[in-house]
Point group: C2
Chain length 443, copies 2
C-alpha cells in the first residue's frame, strides 16, 4: 500500500470537518418550551417535545425536528455499522403493498391482521400500507436465489411501518407510523441459520451497549412458534415499559410469561423463585421463521444434491425511535434529558455568556470555531437570553458536556466544564479543554 | 487553532476509510438479468432492473436494491449539502395526516385533490397519507414563529410522498410512492422571500450540475399563480420526458406553455419564433406560496412595528429518484448505464480475470485492498464467471472506471483502465493507477 499523500490527507480531513456540522443555537428554528401538550402523558415525549427534539402532529404521529433527527441518524448509523459487520446489505422496499402477496401468506384479511391501513387504488383494487415486509422480501429474493451457492444472504432496510393501532401510547415508543430496521436472513441449512441467528443476537447486544442501554437490556426468552423452541426479545427494564419480563439480574436471565413453566426454566438454569417480575420495553426482537414464507411464496433453491428445498428464513427488528425513547426514559433526570455520547446530537454545548461584551463574544466565537475545526460537534448557545434560561435549556437538552465561555473564563483562562450525566464540574485551561475533546472524539 | 495531532489524523482517516464501503461482487445478493419485465416500458427502469439497482414490486412501487440505494444516498447527500449551504435545516414530518389541517386549507376533499390515499383509523375517523407537506409544516412552525426575529427560516425534509395516480408511468420517474426533498421558506418580508427564492434557484442549478445533468436542465418559466408573475420549474430536455417546454438553447431561456404569450416572452427577451418545442422531465420546482397557507392555518408574526402579519412562504421540491431516472435516461448508451462520478455507487469496477490462478487472485486482492485503503470506492468482480459476462455486466452497471486485473496485467505491470462515459482505454502502471485515483477522489 502506498502511503497517503498530503493532498489526500487534507482532503479526508476537510470532508470529515464539513460533516461535523456544528450549529449556532440562534439559527436553530426550534425552541424549548416550558410545558408539553396536556395530552402527552409519556415522559420520553414530554421531554423531547419540551426540548424541541420532536413535535406531536397527532396521536401516534410525530415530527423529528433537526435535533431529534440528528439523534435518530446517530442511532441508525450504529445499527447500520453492526448490521454491515455481520454481512447485512441495505435496501429500501416500498410501503405500498400488493394484496396478492399477502393473500398467498394468509395475512391480507383484517381478521388475520388487525393493524392494516388499506386504501382504494384509483386505478382499481385495494393497496395496503406495510406493517412489516416478510412477504415483500420473500417475493423479491426469488429473483436472486436459485442455488445453495446464493445462500446465505442478509438484506435489511430502515424503512417506515404503518400500524393501525387502536391506541397510540408511550410517546414515541408505540406510534402508528415509525421507522424500523428489519433484517431478513435467507439460509440453505439450519446450521447456516443458527450461525447467523447467534451473530445477530451478538450484534444486537453491541448495538444496545453502544446506545447506552446495554446494562438494563436483557435477551429475553419467548415462545418460539412452529420452528424453534424459543424466540428472543430484547427487553430493557424500565418503569415506563408496557411489557412484563421475569428476570434474574445476577444470572443475567430473563423470560417472558410464555416461558414460565418449570421445564423451560430448568433448561435456562433458573427457578421461578429466582425471577423477579419487572416492567420493560421491547427494544428489539429476533425470530426464526423457518420455511413458512418461502413455502407460501415459492422461494425454493437447489441444494448440493440437486434437490429443491424451501429457503430457511429469519427476521430481526429494531425500532430506532423506540430506542431513542427508551434512552430518554432510562437516563433522564429531574432537569431534563441525558444523552450518551454515542447518540447525542452534539458532543458539546458551548454556552456563551456576557455576549454584550464584544471582546468576550469574539473570543467565544474563536473557541466555537476551533472546536469545530478540531472535529468536535458543538451546539453554541449564542442567543441573547438570560444566563439562567441558558443553563436551564442546557440541562433540558442534555448534551454530554457543557462548556461555559464567559468574561470570567476569558480573564482567568479557565472554563467551567460540566459533565451532564454525573454533574461533575471541572475547571479546565484552554489546552486542557483541547486535550479533553481530542480524546473524546464523537464517534 | 491548535494543529491536529497524529492520533487525531489517524482517527479521521480510519473513519473515512471505513465509510468508503468497497464491496465484493460475489457477496452482493443482487444479480444482473438479461431482460427487464415485459410490462416495464421505460428505459430508465428497464436498465436499472436489468442491472440490479431496482426491483419493480407493482405498478408505481419500486424497491431500491443495495446498488440503487447507494446512488440515491449520493444524490441525497448532494441535495443536503446545497440545502444546508443556504440555511436549510433538516427534519422529518409524518406521512399520516390529520384531516382537520387540510380542511382548513381546503385541500382535504377528493374533489379538490385527486391524488389522496385515505384510510379508516381503527380508533375512529379518517387519515390521509401525505402527498405534500405545506399544511403540516405551517402548523408546526406556529410553535416556533411569533416575531420577525424568528424569520426567515428554511426547514426541509427528504421524506416519502404518496400519490394515488391513475397511471404510474415512466419507470421510477412517476410512481405512487416516492421520496421528495421539500424545503419550505418562511419570511417576514417580500424582500427576504425574494432573496431566498433566488438563492434556492442557484442551489438547484448547482445540484443539477453536480448530478451531471446541468447542461440539459433549464430553469423554466411557468405561470405564477396569485402571488408572483412566474413560478419556476427545472426541466431537463429528454426524449423520455412527459412534459413539453419551449426553449432557446443559445439564449438559455425556456418557458412552459402557460408562458407563451408575446408580452411574457418579450419580458424574457425572446420571441415565439426563437423557441423550439422539446420534450422534457421536470426534475425540480420552486413556488412562491405568498400567504395562502399562513392565513388559512393562522401562522402570523409580529413585525418591527408591532403589527401582526401573515408569514410569507415558498416551497421548493426535488425528487431524488426522478433525478436518478433522468440521469439514466440521458447518459445511458446501448451497452448500459453511465453514471457520473458524483452519484456512481462505486468509482471503480475492478474486474478480476484469471481467478483460477491463485497468484493472480492474490495479487488482485492486494489491488482491491490497496484501492480501498486509499479511500477509493471499489466494486470488485471476484465472481467465477466468464470474461465476456464480466465485461457485459460491467458495461451494464456503468461505473465510471473499469480496471482490469488479469494474468497479463500482472506480468506486464500494466492495467487496462476504461473510462465508461467516453470509452477511452488507457494502459497504466500501478503507480500511475494510484496517482490517477488520488486525484479522482469520489466526493
Amino acid at each position: 500500500m502506498k502511503p497517503l499523500t498530503l493532498v489526500g490527507l487534507v482532503y479526508f480531513i476537510s470532508v470529515f470537518i464539513m460533516s461535523s456540522k456544528s450549529l449556532r443555537q440562534s439559527q436553530l428554528f426550534t425552541k424549548t418550551r416550558r410545558e408539553a401538550p396536556a395530552d402527552e402523558l409519556a415522559k420520553n415525549a414530554q421531554l423531547l417535545i419540551r426540548a424541541g427534539y420532536v413535535y406531536k402532529n397527532m396521536a401516534g404521529a410525530y415530527t423529528f425536528l433537526p435535533l431529534g433527527l440528528r439523534v435518530i441518524e446517530k442511532i441508525n448509523t450504529i445499527i447500520r455499522q453492526e448490521m454491515d459487520a455481520i454481512g447485512g446489505q441495505e435496501l429500501v422496499m416500498p410501503s405500498l403493498q400488493d394484496s396478492a402477496l399477502w393473500e398467498a401468506s394468509g395475512r391480507w384479511s383484517d381478521d388475520a391482521v388487525d393493524v392494516w391501513f388499506k386504501s382504494e387504488l384509483k386505478a382499481g383494487g385495494q393497496v395496503g400500507f406495510s406493517w412489516t415486509h416478510e412477504e415483500v422480501i420473500t417475493d423479491l429474493m426469488r429473483q436472486f436465489i436459485s442455488s445453495y451457492k446464493d445462500l446465505p444472504k442478509f438484506p435489511y432496510q430502515i424503512q417506515k411501518k404503518f400500524r393501525n393501532e387502536m391506541r397510540a401510547k408511550s410517546g414515541i415508543m408505540r406510534t402508528r407510523e415509525f421507522d424500523m430496521k428489519d433484517l431478513y436472513s435467507f439460509s440453505a441449512t439450519q446450521e447456516q441459520h443458527d450461525t447467523f441467528y447467534a451473530a445477530c443476537s451478538d450484534a444486537y447486544k453491541k448495538i444496545f451497549d453502544r446506545l447506552g442501554i446495554g446494562q438494563m437490556t436483557y435477551k429475553t426468552f419467548a415462545s418460539g412458534g412452529a420452528f424453534t423452541k424459543f424466540s428472543h426479545e430484547f427487553q430493557t427494564l424500565a418503569e415506563a415499559g408496557e411489557d412484563i419480563v421475569y428476570v434474574n439480574e445476577e444470572k443475567g436471565v430473563a423470560v417472558n410469561e410464555e416461558v414460565l413453566d418449570a421445564a423451560d426454566l430448568s433448561e435456562l438454569g433458573v427457578t421461578r423463585d429466582e425471577l423477579q417480575k419487572r416492567k420493560s420495553i421491547e427494544v428489539g426482537n429476533i425470530f426464526s421463521l423457518g420455511t413458512k414464507f418461502s413455502e407460501a411464496l415459492d422461494l425454493y433453491f437447489t441444494n448440493e444434491n440437486g434437490e429443491s428445498k424451501p429457503v430457511i428464513m429469519g427476521s430481526y427488528g429494531i425500532g430506532p425511535a423506540r430506542s431513542m425513547g427508551t434512552i430518554v426514559d432510562l437516563l433522564a433526570d429531574e432537569k431534563g434529558i441525558v444523552w450518551p455520547e454515542s447518540v447525542a446530537p452534539f458532543l458539546v454545548h458551548l454556552v456563551g455568556l456576557n455576549g454584550e461584551d464584544a471582546a468576550v463574544r469574539d473570543w467565544t466565537e474563536g473557541i466555537f470555531n476551533s472546536l469545530t475545526e478540531q472535529g468536535v460537534e458543538v451546539l453554541y448557545d449564542d442567543r441573547d437570553v438570560r444566563t439562567g434560561e441558558k443553563f436551564a435549556d442546557s440541562d433540558l437538552l442534555g448534551l454530554p458536556y457543557r462548556v461555559v465561555a464567559s468574561k470570567r473564563a476569558k480573564e482567568e483562562g479557565k472554563f467551567e466544564v460540566v459533565t451532564r450525566a454525573t454533574g461533575e464540574v471541572r475547571s479546565l485551561t484552554e489546552d486542557e479543554l483541547w486535550a479533553d475533546f481530542d480524546t473524546n472524539p464523537n464517534t
